[in-house]
Homo-oligomer: 196 residues x 2
DNA sequence: AACATAAGTTCATCATGATGAACAAAGAGA
DNA sequence: TCTCTTTGTTCATCATGATGAACTTATGTT
């Protein structure tokens, strides 16, 4: 935790990310449609994502330019090798994060899925793989899993900052003293927390 | 894991998020500058974030409209109560995620910080608090922490999918068979994984 | 062949968040 | 006071990702 949070070498990484949230979902929609129906057309993608045909058409033509999407012999949309790998990386991240939030942290399903969906395209391969490794360790042993579930079942909003926090460093606590301000209380009631 | 990944009730949550990545960093910059120098001006924020003064001016005026930023008696920028809470929520999320990635998962510091910075404004309050709770459990006991560190030290890229994965469900494995495709091998070498 | 429907593209428009240039206003020094 | 610098705002411009309307191009059907 050396560099400051606003260090420009980090904070601009967000916009330099390999794939946008939107692009990831176009790729995954094509993948899902081919799995389910055997083919994917611009209109099918638009329908699945509930965007206009125009938006789907323009986004998909960008994905073609980036080499992630082509057409098969019947002119149906097809992911390239790179496109499929990218789609599967994001899908894996979604499953990993969703499962971790829901089954390890005990987050409510709605919030777990919403959080996972927002973060899916931003988690690096390394972090995702290590998270799987940790979950395998935690969940592969029955008594260990049960213990974690017991611990997480004891969680109540605010309780994580009730006692002296062993995670504090340099005077900054992971759970800031403002954790129970009016603003947080308001947002806490809404599923999704940060979401409106 | 009931709803499909492309369900529009979820996939559009990303753009409906309470705060954008950029807005979060403007708030945190104002907070940090006031902590460090006692005041924050548009120019200082622009300098810290390495954006143009024009960009900072326009973004900050949006934050004023949203009620997150005002000016103090000396016309210096000031976070409102809501603005400070929002900034601290994002900062907490950054510290929580960064610490989790680095100290629990054993992710390399660069990747851990980059991932945490990208995801900081997207993790809900509930998920963040529960993650703190889990980390307190894991790290508060020496032998438990040591065991986790041992387990994570054994991690090698790809090893998480080497044996039968106990996390599989509905035929879909968290670690897809394509986890070791050419595409992933290429990206694995770059710090940040998904990043370019 | 003619017409209707479906599929796909393009265009004007909007919002966000950036740039750099032009401009206005406030302070500091000779 | 006059001038120069700093500070802050506004503007034209760009890129992305969306909308809806208009348009073109199949693909059927009678």
């Amino acid at each position: 935790m050396s560099k400051p949070i606003n260090d420009s070498t980090y904070w601009r990484d967000f916009e330099r990310n390999d794939i946008t949230h939107s692009a990831a979902h176009y790729l995954m929609a094509i993948d899902a449609l081919r799995d389910e129906y055997g083919y994917a057309r611009v209109t099918d993608v638009a329908e699945m994502l509930e965007v206009s045909r125009g938006a789907a058409s323009m986004s998909i033509s960008q994905l073609k330019k980036r080499g992630w999407v082509t057409e098969d012999a019947h002119r149906f949309l097809l992911l390239t090798e790179d496109g499929r790998c990218m789609a599967q990386l994001v899908e894996q991240n979604f499953r990993i994060l969703g499962k971790f939030f829901e089954e390890v942290l005990g987050v409510s399903p709605d919030t777990a899925l919403s959080d996972a969906c927002k973060m899916e395209h931003l988690m690096s391969l390394e972090t995702g793989r290590r998270l799987v490794w940790l979950m395998r360790y935690i969940l592969s042993d029955e008594s260990r899993a049960a213990k974690i579930h017991d611990v997480m079942a004891c969680f109540r909003p605010g309780c994580e900052s009730a006692e002296h926090c062993p995670l504090c460093e340099g005077g900054q606590c992971l759970t800031a003293p403002e954790g129970d301000c009016e603003f947080h209380r308001r947002h806490q009631r809404k599923p999704g927390g940060v979401n409106s």
